[in-house]
């Protein structure tokens, strides 16, 4: 059973589109495994949407901002409507892309849909560890697919910033216990851990190796407070 879930504040930032792609994908992957969080996300989306489109909310925004109200000219608006409706093309029903797979140490893994269009680096190996970077170009935030072969472990380490480990396949254990696919494990520098796997596992990891967060992320993390523990 999945025991580790994203905190509420993280789900909320996810719904509002305020997380970096790395963490947003992490939450999306977890929700694929976890119907409880998926349900929370659906409800939150409904609520946030409702609030976003209440007249009052945006009226207030305009007043607060002292900005010219939208649109600048109604001719512009009519143009936009005409331009959009001029096309009769319908969007196709669904993306039908085949699932992306990747092979680590001879085992083929199907990757989560959230990663479908992310570019993946070559696999680098040290002993029982194999790592492929997910090339998101998010500055100090590094995202990877990390495979630990059977009997392997990650040497004891501490974190600067945060470390998200999302188990995709297999299982591993540390001092805190056993983890199953879907477990969303968020750690910070106060934690030390040494995960080890008996049968091998594949993880999605997001690590912020910087001492300080970038402005945007800091904003997101600050209200969370106890988010990293």
């Amino acid at each position: 059973m999945i025991k580790h879930h994203p905190k509420f504040e993280l789900l909320k930032s996810f719904v509002e589109g305020d997380l970096p792609a790395s963490l947003a994908a992490g939450v999306a992957i977890h929700a694929d495994f976890c119907s409880i969080c998926q349900q929370h996300i659906d409800l939150l989306t409904e609520q946030v949407a409702e609030m976003s489109f209440e007249q009052q909310a945006t009226d207030k925004l305009f007043i607060d901002d002292q900005r010219q109200s939208y649109p600048p000219a109604s001719a512009h608006l009519d143009d936009m409507i005409a331009q959009i409706t001029a096309s009769d093309a319908l969007a196709s029903t669904q993306r039908t892309a085949a699932p992306v797979t990747m092979s680590f140490k001879g085992t083929q893994y199907q990757l989560p849909n959230a990663l479908r269009n992310m570019s993946l680096g070559k696999i680098a190996q040290i002993g029982k560890l194999s790592r492929a970077r997910v090339q998101l170009d998010e500055g100090k935030i590094h995202t990877s697919l990390l495979h630990i072969a059977a009997g392997g472990s990650i040497p004891e380490h501490t974190h600067k910033g945060f470390e998200l480990t999302l188990l995709l396949a297999g299982s591993f254990a540390d001092a805190a216990g056993e983890y199953v696919p879907g477990d969303f494990i968020m750690l910070d520098q106060r934690h030390q851990h040494q995960p080890a796997t008996e049968a091998g596992c594949l993880c999605y990891t997001v690590v912020n190796d910087a001492l300080h967060f970038t402005q945007g992320i800091n904003k997101m993390l600050n209200p969370i407070g106890s988010f990293i523990y």
């Binding site: 792609a21 976003s52 096309s87």
Partner: protein, 208 residues
């Protein structure tokens, strides 16, 4: 039909006369979107555009801090509404949720373009538009009581549903809800009390 119309009218004027609430006319939005889907109805699209565009613009401006980019988000979002209207399924959620998802995704891809200089358009993979209902149904499968509660919950006014869902399903505190919904704590408390009163009565009825 006439009765329906007059009920809608009275609901609208009730909303207008109340300064506290500003409820969205979901059935009207749904009618417009369905008219686009079925008839490619440009008048309905214009109406939908006039409802959503200013709000999308304001929200996108808040995130992108540029009039030009906010305008592009409006254009992209509303183009998708026009081209994807036939994919909207009103049994799966409100029009506002559907449009919000499109807008959030478009804005996310714009932000990524700005910040990471990447045009990889990841949003539709992270937040797929057509949410499968199956997972939701599965999670309720073993909770008949829960399902029953959902049905009764749906009969409450939107404003009360929000509070009940936030409090019981998302386990938010009343204070958190007040902040989240931008309402006075007193309003949250009274909505919750009203809603619970109704729920008790209705669930009692159903258990007979």
């Amino acid at each position: 039909m006439l009765a329906m119309d007059s009920r809608l009218l009275s609901r609208q004027s009730a909303v207008r006369s109340s300064s506290m609430t500003n409820e969205i006319n979901h059935s009207q939005l749904c009618q417009w979107l369905n008219a686009i889907a079925l008839d490619r109805d440009k008048a309905a699209f214009t109406a939908l555009f006039r409802f959503f565009a200013p709000k999308i613009h304001a929200i996108a401006y808040g995130k992108l801090n540029s009039e030009a980019l906010a305008s592009e988000v409006v254009q992209d979002t509303m183009s998708k509404v026009w081209r994807k209207a036939h994919l909207f399924d009103d049994s799966k959620g409100a029009v506002t949720t559907w449009v919000y998802t499109i807008m959030r995704n478009v804005t996310f891809d714009f932000l990524r373009k700005m910040k990471a200089n990447k045009e990889d358009n990841l949003s539709d993979d992270i937040w797929p538009l057509a949410e499968p209902l199956s997972s939701e149904e599965e999670s309720f499968k073993d909770h008949l009581q829960n399902r029953n509660l959902q049905g009764v919950l749906a009969t409450l006014p939107e404003s009360q549903q929000q509070v009940v869902k936030g409090f019981y399903f998302l386990e938010m505190s009343q204070e958190q809800l007040a902040t989240h919904l931008n309402l006075p704590l007193g309003t949250i408390k009274s909505r919750l009390r009203l809603a619970l009163g109704k729920l008790k009565t209705k669930l009692g009825e159903n258990n007979d």
